[in-house]
Amino acid sequence: MHYNWNWAIFRELSPDGVHTYWDTLMSGLAWTLATSLAGWVMALALGMLVGVLRTLPSPWLRRAGTAYVELFRNIPLLVQMFLWFFVVPELLPRAAGDWLKALPNAPFLTAVVCLGFFTSARVAVQVTAGIEALAGGQKLAALALGLTRRQTYRHVLLPLALRIILPPLTSEFLNIIKNSSVALTIGLMELTASARAVQEFSFQVFEAFSAATLIYVLVNIVVVAGMAWLERRLALPGTLASGGGR
């Protein structure tokens, strides 16, 4: 294998003449984090709503929730990205469509909306599972105290369910960070796209991709450590998660 390794490449100026290749990667990381975090906020809100919908007594609301989940789970993320980016502006009234296409950060906003909906379907499944895992008595006790159904969900069921499903939510959060790389197909210069740009301009394939891989791994480690800390703090007393001794 004849390959000239050159790790100093990151200190060299990129073609824009102002930023180094390292700056390119860091700006990519910033876009990756911004997209994932904004998408995550949306996914949590929508996911909780749809997850609750699927536990309500009304069969039609349950079906609506399940249809939502099936829709966003059964179309590949890439195709959903194209639908939001290319198709939705065409289907809207002309003025709204033109406004959407002219937005300065269209790829970013599209990616957030797309990842938000895509991930919300997965969050919804976990929220449903979390609520169903609670002992039935919790709900009955809350209702017996005179709480309305809305209050029961808000003050009793959801807080408990969220604490139970924290570990699978961690995986979903890691997934949304990784999935944000699909947004490079609609022109978002996130971390993977930046690494590719570095590779294209500097011809240092392996350094560019090694650096990006290392950054993804580091982000992963930080998230996992943060979530482990949160899990310990929020473990439900009386479950196996809270440890045997306490």
Binding site: M1, P76, L77, V79, F86, V87, E90
Partner: protein, 230 residues
Amino acid sequence: MFSQFDFDVIARSWLYLFRTGMAFTLELTVLSMLGGVALGTLLALGRLSSFKPVALLAATYVNLIRAVPLVLVIFWFYFLVPYVAAWLIGAAEPVKVGTFLSALITFILFQAAYYCEIMRGGIQAISRGQLYAAQALGMGYWQTMWLIVLPQAFRNMLPVLLTQTIVLFQDVSLVYVLSVPDFVGAASKIAQRDGRLVEMYVFVALVYLLLCCVLSWLARRLQARVAIIR
């Protein structure tokens, strides 16, 4: 809003979409699944091995792959495979491998990490008594695994393996970044040539929706059947 919807573009191109695009997608899915499950099972045995260096190596591989987005892995192997091939056969120049082979290697190596975790769960769910019984019969490690543990782990994990394969089927669309004519790539070519993005992408979404709904319905039915057998 659907007034200018041109269904004709689909009628004109469906043969290309399915014969070239979907055939590529399905071929890559099935071959990657077979290779991924085989390698994933080996990795699972590695992770559960009592020989620590092997367990550590397998665990590092699985965790590394699962920390990195698939798109980045696709780029990695697209550029890496020609160099590795050159090194393997001692050639001076990077070998031209072709996108299909490069994509196949990527998906096998990537999916193996995910299949590994499923198989590890399946193996760990087998009761210890089975191992003692096999030992009492005088079986060695590989005999025990091949004849006793793996068949049961496979059967119990079949629905989960199928669910992961649906994920794989959807993920194959990401070879789009290598400009390969998979189902999405083929549709996107026609869409750009004829300026019919709306029709093509809606059609692609509907086809995936239909296929994946059928597949996940099958997985659920299989789950029910396996549950009864147990």
